[in-house]
């Protein structure tokens, strides 16, 4: 316990200070009710995102704005990783790698669609430090114009072996699905390993928080593969993870076997009421929103009780990520002049708006 206090006191203090600067409910209301993108950016400029919005107004497109605010997450990760001791630091580094994986997927999509580097650049998550995949690597990949040649530029990264093996399937099936799934599975296996390398309160907290995140992905994959992609049982099992925090292999198998999904989710998450059979594509996105809100609740709980463990920094980083996701959605909604009713139910971070509009826990 003493070791935990000395090891985590500095990062804990830093994280709590950062936590206090997260967007408040009042500000969320102002953002949601902003007239247009400029008004939204004006509200955002009064928050901690202001330094990242210092771009000429002509250049501040919705895509650029979304890119700029993601810089805050990059800087936060760098700061917190630096302050966190081992072995917790290894977990945070692995969490950070998710953005690298997403960048790689975006780059591959860019190559596949023949997009220019300028278009791909602002779809990427900025990565300040602790990367194996640099911006110039990705630029070279895009400019190569060919998936096979592009992989030559990442031979030095941990993703090369996975992708080069999956490349054969890409050539046979002529789509990116096998490459993306291979990356996703490989990444999450490493993440699970990072959790299991921890012990004591660190392990417990990491399982609870990160494990809940893995559960969300695993569950949504299984449902999506069954309902929308109509994959076979064997394929569903091979495209999902055999472990998790609450969601175990038996649960995935039951979904893959064709059992009703609603009771499975009910059992796993009693606070999420599921009535649908997921025939409607909106049902899955509602489930996703509900699971994300559940994760956010789990993250917020990490800030009460004994604080000297990896849970607090991990929880804050994930809260920050969801804050940015919501802001990104707001940016796109305001740029497209969507009515509030259309996007508000999909926001996950601000509970007060839920109270005014009505909770949507029942799917």
């Amino acid at each position: 316990m003493a070791r935990g206090v000395t090891a985590y006191s500095l990062v804990n203090a830093t994280v709590r200070a950062l936590y206090a600067k997260m967007i408040e409910p009042r500000t969320w209301d102002a953002l949601i009710h902003a007239q247009d993108l400029n008004a939204l950016l004006s509200v955002l400029s009064k928050t901690g995102y202001d330094p990242y919005l210092q771009v000429k107004s002509q250049a501040m497109t919705p895509r650029r704005a979304a890119y700029q605010i993601r810089w805050r997450l990059a800087k936060t990760y760098t700061k917190i990783i630096r302050l966190t001791p081992e072995p917790g630091q290894a977990l945070l580094l692995q969490l950070w790698r998710l953005y690298e994986v997403n960048n790689l997927k975006a780059t591959l999509r860019g190559i596949e669609t023949g997009a220019s580097w300028d278009r791909v650049l602002y779809l990427l998550s900025p990565m300040d430090k602790h990367t194996t995949l640099s911006l110039s690597d990705m630029e070279s990949m895009v400019r190569s114009g060919n998936i096979r040649r592009a992989l030559n530029y990442i031979a030095h990264t941990p993703y090369y072996d996975t992708l080069i093996h999956a490349l054969e399937r890409y050539h046979v099936e002529n789509n990116l699905f096998p490459l993306e799934v291979a990356l996703d599975l490989a990444y999450r296996r490493e993440l699970w390993k990072s959790i299991n390398n921890l012990s004591g309160p660190d392990h417990e907290q990491a399982q609870r928080i990160v494990g809940t995140g893995l559960d969300t992905d695993n569950l949504l994959w299984a449902i999506r593969y069954r309902i929308y992609h109509k994959l076979s049982k064997q394929e569903i099992i091979n495209y999902t993870l055999p472990y998790g925090y609450r969601v175990q292999d038996e649960d995935i198998r039951m979904i893959a076997d064709g059992n009703p999904i609603a009771p499975i989710i009910q059992r796993l998450y009693p606070d999420i009421r599921v009535k649908s059979d997921f025939e409607d594509s909106n049902d899955l996105s509602k489930l996703e929103t509900a699971l994300q809100r559940h994760l956010i609740k789990t993250c917020r709980k990490a800030f009460s009780g004994y604080p000297f463990h990896i849970g607090t920094p991990t929880a804050y980083l994930w809260l920050n990520e969801y804050e940015i996701k919501d802001l990104t959605m707001l940016i796109e909604a305001k740029a497209s002049h969507l009515p509030i009713e259309m996007f508000a139910p999909l926001l996950v971070m601000q509970p007060t708006y839920q109270q005014t509009v009505g909770t949507t826990k029942t799917i």
């Binding site: 093996h165 291979a182 994959l231 076979s232 064997q234 099992i237 091979n238 055999p242």
Partner: protein
């Protein structure tokens, strides 16, 4: 020498058909600094995109393509050519790039295909090897009627998951060989379950190994055939690589020349795109040193007789009412100093450029920097060593020292002054018995050296304030000249306080204390109300910002701050004396160590002396250099030098050494 070069604004009205030729002349002349202008959008032109920008985009894309070809062929860019490069037509450049890409692509694709084939053959080979002893015909394995067989490679991490996914299906999965991440496996099942087994295997990333139909017979026979195929493919690769080398030899010069030409063309069209464009003419605006105007006019006249050239000289001391202040602040600055002091120009521009019309501090720096360095590093031997080093660097004869070429002159100057002070201190490589000091020994006369350095600091700071006064005079800002904290009022205040302090220590000076006190009081009042008085003299309104009481409070605090600033800036120069003492002390330590190592003064003694001196020259020399720079930048420059001048960057189509 004491001011930047006088510049003239040049407006060129160029007919459309001559714009390229004229711009090429401007670039070749290396004197025309293109002025940034607000884009002029006429009613007609705003509906058309600028074709020059489009050409610039084309050239940028071509440049990238050439670089890609060079990268693929492993050719570096080489150095920029020395001859003048003319604009290349984008279409011609495009054709040449396409031709080069075709040739290189063909060769590279052939090589890539052969390498891919080799990798595939090697993969087949490594995968058939585990079943080399299997006495079964491959055709029989391919054509099984009732048994499903799948031979392939799978990531090791996926094996268990595959097995679990097939829990209700009869199957056998055998791992033939396992490497770090990949395993070679063979999956058996029933043909009726073929679709399920195939889908499961595919989703587990089990890549089937399907040796081409041409490999018949047993695995051993197939392996022999593969080995022959590998040898043939390797030979093909060697031939392809030889072809590429040949291609390289053929095209390397052409590629490099094309690259630089495209780059030059890009710069050219980008420059023209920045001109204001009327219907049939272009307006190019820029700055040229006044001394170079005539030559430039003659060069332009040779390529076009129809260019109208309008020049406006901007004398550095033009009457204020005739100057557009904003335009004056845009004049780029180029420093021109004689060769002896030009070496120190880099130290000035490293901090910043003086504004146009201000003093160029290079001549003062060229004296003060080596003087301060020499005082802190006084030793004949060390100084001569540095001077020799500076000479070698300046000569440019040693390639590995070329990176330090900008420091050669500075090191030479510092070395000479260090040697001079070495004579004054009587020190030669730390030996103090070889020479009698002409002045003092820092280690023995610590108080004296510290007092002298304070005195030097006072003089240097005063020069700084004088420079500020001169700058204000040149800019005709009378209020600033008279009442600023670093101008006349500040100087008088500073010296009157010094006078009072010196008298208090009993030193006789030919000025009455009362006079000094009155001077201090009057100049102090001037400083206190400097803002008000400056605005009054310069005709600026309002006279004071905010309320009177706030202003008075602020003014008093600022006066106090000025007083503290004077004291701290002056005392900062004490470090010169401290380092002079330290220099002697470190030399002493070297001798003590040498004595300990070899009391009989044999080889160990002399080795220690040599290594110790080298350490002093390298390590202490670097520290003293940093301290000198700090004194110059922080104490001296801060008195008068804003460094906010605009750098003169003449148009050139290719990077040159100076850039």
């Amino acid at each position: 020498m004491f001011q930047p070069q006088t510049m003239s604004k040049v407006n060129l009205i160029v007919p459309e058909h001559d714009v390229v030729a004229v711009t090429e002349v401007l670039a070749a002349s290396n004197v025309f600094h293109v002025a940034q202008t607000e884009p002029f959008v006429s009613e007609s032109s705003q509906h058309h995109t600028n074709p020059w920008y489009e050409r610039a985009t084309t050239f940028t894309a071509l440049e990238q393509r050439i670089l890609a070809v060079m990268k693929a062929l492993e050719i570096n860019e080489g150095s920029p050519p020395s001859q003048i490069l003319h604009l290349i037509s984008p279409e011609v450049a495009q054709m040449e790039v396409e031709h080069l890409e075709e040739e290189s692509d063909a060769a590279l694709q052939e090589l890539e295909a052969a390498q891919h084939k080799l990798a595939q053959l090697r993969r087949y080979h490594s995968q058939l090897e585990p079943i080399a002893d299997l006495d079964v015909d491959l055709d029989d394995l391919r054509n099984m009627q009732y048994t499903f067989v799948l031979l392939g490679t799978i990531p090791v991490t996926n094996i268990e998951r595959l097995k679990n996914s097939l829990e209700h299906i009869p199957f056998v999965l055998v791992t033939l060989r396992q490497q770090e991440h990949l395993a070679t496996v063979i999956l058996f099942g029933m043909q009726r379950d073929a679709e399920i087994l195939n889908r499961a295997a595919r989703s587990a990333y089990l890549n089937p190994l399907n040796p081409p139909e041409m490999y018949r017979g047993t695995p051993a026979a197939a392996i022999e055939a593969l080995k022959a195929g590998i040898t043939r493919t390797q030979q093909h690769i060697d031939e392809s690589q030889a072809n590429i080398k040949q291609l390289l030899k053929l095209h390397i010069r052409h590629l490099r020349h094309l690259l630089w030409r495209v780059r030059a063309s890009r710069t050219l069209v980008e420059t023209i795109a920045g001109y204001e464009h009327l219907r049939y003419t272009y307006l190019a605006t820029g700055w040229v040193p006044t001394a170079d105007i005539q030559v430039l006019k003659q060069k332009i006249a040779r390529v076009s007789e129809k260019v109208t050239i309008e020049t406006t000289e901007f004398p550095q001391m033009a009457p204020r009412e005739k100057i557009d202040e904003e335009e004056f602040s845009q004049v780029p600055v180029t420093l021109k100093n004689p060769p002896l002091i030009r070496a120190f120009q880099g130290l000035v521009t490293n901090y910043g450029y003086p504004k146009y019309g201000e003093l160029d501090p290079t001549p003062v720096l060229a004296m003060s920097f080596p003087l301060i360095f020499g005082l802190m590093f006084g030793d004949v031997g060390h100084g001569l060593f540095l001077a020799l080093l500076g000479l070698i660097i300046t000569s440019g004869k040693i390639k590995s020292l070329k990176a330090l070429s900008s420091l050669g002159g500075i090191i030479l100057g510092c070395g000479i002054f260090s040697a001079v002070f070495g004579i004054l201190y009587g020190s030669v490589f730390g030996f103090e018995t070889l020479l009698q000091p002409l002045w003092l020994r820092p280690l023995e006369d610590i108080t004296d050296i510290l007092l002298v350095t304070v005195g030097i600091g006072t003089v240097v700071l005063s020069i700084g304030m004088l420079c500020n006064t001169v700058n204000a005079f040149l800019a005709k800002r009378w209020g600033l000249m008279l009442f600023n904290h670093n101008s006349l009022a500040g100087l008088i205040f500073y010296w009157s306080l010094i006078g009072i302090a010196v008298k208090a220590f009993g030193v006789a000076i030919p000025l009455n204390t009362w006079i000094l006190a009155i001077l201090a009081l009057v100049s102090g009042l001037g400083l206190t109300f400097s803002e008000l008085l400056e605005h009054l003299l310069d005709g600026e309104k309002p006279l004071i910002e905010g309320s009177t009481s706030t202003y008075l409070m602020q003014a008093l605090f600022e006066l106090f701050e000025t007083l503290i600033g004077f004291l701290s800036n002056t005392l900062s120069y004490v470090r010169m004396g401290a380092f002079a003492v330290a220099h002697g002390a470190i030399s002493m330590v070297v001798f003590i160590m040498a004595e300990i190592i070899s009391p009989t003064h044999s080889i160990g003694y002399w080795l220690t002396i040599v290594l110790g001196n080298l350490f002093i020259i390298g390590f202490e020399g670097m520290i003293v250099g940093i301290q000198t720079l700090r004194l110059e930048y922080y104490e001296f420059f801060s008195k008068f030098f804003s460094g906010s001048g605009k750098r003169y960057k003449p148009l050139t189509l290719l990077p040159n050494g100076e850039n």
